[in-house]
Symmetry: C2
């Protein structure tokens, strides 16, 4: 491939042409997405955090290297940072590309995995769960390999070509769908969080969990792709007397739930994709129900059957499980909405602060009832609360990132967050929650405010108990 090398003046003419056109300037003007709502505060935070964390930087080496480098020529070879040690990876060829590969994280990130509970040890691991490492999650999207799991009979290994979805019961035209049929419909893709109703159950009374993965890791967020359930129900023709719809899984447990018809005909989706690809086996491949904002166990995985009826089924998962004990000795059924909640993920249990100074407190807030409108943060155990910044995009029933600037004075501290959604609902304290609820056994729907304690040594530990 030949080319003419332009003259120096030609270079500069071309550079001017390439750089001064309206296209790029317009691009700058168009950059309206603000990373945080309070840009001015962000700017001052950055300057101060930079200053306070500079002790971590190799300023001596920098000055030396910089001195040499500033005097270097424009040639890239000559301008290498010679006074800094040149690592092996800069002096050798890296790993070549192999054909047909699905990539994996760096070997230096092997500690970032899903994990089973470390508080409640099941005797078998078929009816089990694993949790998302929220302390390592950047942004709002949970990587597909880290979306939390909850199974009642292990992970089904389903051949999509042989999978069938039956729609029947109080309908005019019972139907059986293949995956080819379902994926031929127009698809929709929406960002939503998903949370297990039991998220936090291991910490309500025992406070043994050490990290946010173990206290809040039955929580993930993805972009879910599929079709509204209503499209298939419309096609089958729902009887006007129908009130409830059964959704049943094809796994060995035949896990199933009764869903009110208004939700089945509303936002409920039949999902086959998550995070840009087909569902993972542990998340219901090839098809699951997804009800935005409702507890994970109603989002029935490996979905094989939809049955329409005029009453609920009162299945085992609606009587023995997934119910809430009340002070009068009764158990509340069908409480499926995951209410407004938040948690600080950084700093969180197991982390270590390196001396007094400015730190950014980060975390997630979410609500099954709508969008997050505010998050407050306390650093003195709830005596005073201040407003955190929310990162765009703030989406309906989706994880929202918040951040708050904290100037740690080096003394013991107790940090927590409190979220508010657009219904006006405020995340309750644990004391508030125990008033209408009986605390016994496994506790579902724990959306109480959760504290981390910071010691004088900078150690961050579970603040409950």
């Amino acid at each position: 491939m030949s080319q003419k090398t332009p003259s120096k003046s030609e270079y500069f003419r071309q550079i001017r042409d390439a750089l001064s056109g309206p296209t790029r300037e317009e691009a700058h003007a168009l950059s309206k997405q603000k990373p945080y709502k309070n840009e001015a505060r962000l700017k001052s935070d950055v300057a101060e955090i930079g200053q306070s964390s500079r002790r971590n930087f190799l300023t001596a080496a920098a000055a030396a290297a910089g001195g040499v480098l500033a005097a270097g020529t424009v040639g890239v070879k000559k301008a290498k940072a010679e006074k800094l040690e040149i690592p092996e990876w800069s002096k050798s060829m890296g790993r070549p590309i192999e054909p047909r590969v699905y990539g994996m994280p760096s070997r230096y990130e092997k500690h970032v995995t899903r994990n089973r509970t470390d508080v409640l040890v099941n005797k078998q691991n078929f009816s089990d769960w694993s949790m998302t490492p929220l302390q390592h999650q950047e942004g709002i999207i949970t990587p597909n390999g880290l979306i939390y799991e909850r199974h009642h009979a292990g992970i089904a290994d389903i051949d999509p070509d042989k999978h069938r979805l039956v729609v029947h019961g109080m309908v005019k035209r019972p139907m059986v769908y293949t995956m080819d049929g379902i994926t031929r419909y127009p698809s929709i893709s929406k960002f939503y969080f998903m949370e297990c109703s039991g998220n936090g159950l291991t910490d309500w009374l025992k406070a043994k969990s050490t990290t946010v993965q173990q206290t809040h890791g039955l929580l993930s967020c993805s972009q879910w792709t599929g079709i509204p359930v209503s499209w298939l129900l419309d096609e089958a023709g729902v009887d006007s007397k129908a009130k409830w719809v059964l959704f049943e899984g094809a796994d060995g447990s035949a896990h199933a739930r009764s869903i009110p018809i208004d939700m089945a005909m509303g936002d409920a989706m039949l999902v086959y994709g998550a995070g840009g690809e087909m569902l993972r086996p542990e998340n219901g491949y090839p098809l699951r129900l997804f009800i935005p904002g409702w507890e994970g166990n109603v989002c029935v995985k490996w979905l094989r059957r939809i049955k329409v009826s005029d009453k609920p089924w009162h299945l085992r998962s609606e009587t023995a499980r997934y119910t809430d004990p009340m002070p009068d000795g009764k158990w509340r059924q069908f409480s499926m909405t995951m209410e407004c909640k938040s948690v600080i993920t950084k700093p969180s249990g197991g982390m270590q602060l390196n001396g007094p100074g400015l730190y950014e407190i980060q975390g997630f807030a979410w609500s099954g009832n709508g969008t997050i409108t505010a998050v407050d943060v306390t650093t003195d155990g709830g005596k005073t609360w201040r407003t955190a910044d929310l990162e765009e995009p703030v989406l309906d029933r989706c994880l929202t990132r918040f951040r708050y600037r904290w100037n740690w004075d080096g003394g013991p501290a107790r940090i927590a967050s409190r979220a508010v959604d657009n219904t006006g609902y405020v995340q309750p304290t644990i004391e508030d929650l125990t008033k209408p609820r009986l605390i016994a056994g496994f506790v579902q729907h724990h959306n109480g405010i959760f504290p981390w304690n910071v010691s004088q040594k900078g150690e961050v530990v579970n603040g409950l108990g």
Copy 2:
């Protein structure tokens, strides 16, 4: 764990309480996110596509199964679809959860991988690329294991604890940063596409690529997490005469680019996270430059050095590579914006339509200059164009999904898409593009309209050539 079983009337009281409260009704009212802009059209599409694709469904089996099932009791065991074959995965326990696992796709999805080019075969695979399987991508987020690759000396394997970033040149205070220092700053997370300047180069003249992975797969989209470059440049103190900034990688090729100071101080980010976790090694772990809307090769991976100057460096990647030949024999340098473009991903090369009827045409549109405002679709080779629907969220410099209802009459067809961005720029035809550009050798910045041909048999093939 004991529980009292409530009486039947108590059941119904509890159900009423749980289902009739303001909380859930508000949740419904709050569901303002529309999947597509034109809801009315979507509804009619669904009905018609359902009808036309019903031939794929097992209606005979459905009627039989439905008949039996409708007569069944409410007990879930009895109500199983007995007339349908019960697969092995419904009769056995699935795979149990192992501790500390990073999940992988189903074994039935092994065909969904990145892949090297099948047109230009490199003699070695160190300076190489692999492409994203866009034909399989659901939603706008590319899974982390499928983000496209481009390397000049293979994939560097960097220990983040030993990695250093130097900032020097025309600055007041040269600095060296550790990864701990960089990640202590407040972080921002933004959704952006990333595209190689050479995306499509194999198809401009040769038309041998068979799938959209091979024609357009040097394109991915993620939520990128990091800090603005400007924060570190502000800390170093940029000289008022500075005009250009060098960004250099720590890989064996020391790949580097000169970036205008206004972009370095603008939207440019130092990125360490993508898609919810730390960058993958092949995408620059532990640190890369990311310039939204600009060609991928300026988003220097494995970033080790930032040098400020008053002129560009004219590196090999700015003279021998990543330049555009012009009709006058000169080569255009520093043309880094990826202009407005789109492509149909479904149906696309290698797919097969199953007879005449309604099909949803889906694809991606994107622009390095802003947001997508419209996508037109033709099914008659460009004679007529009709407006497609855009799926929310439509974000600045991000992939946008479009869809269009197509009633295929079973005859030969030529389908293509044409995107428009909010600067008013319209994606050009290939003929339009060749007027100001010389077509020779590797062609960069190919954003021409790309057609697929559909045969009478329903085969979809590359429409170029």
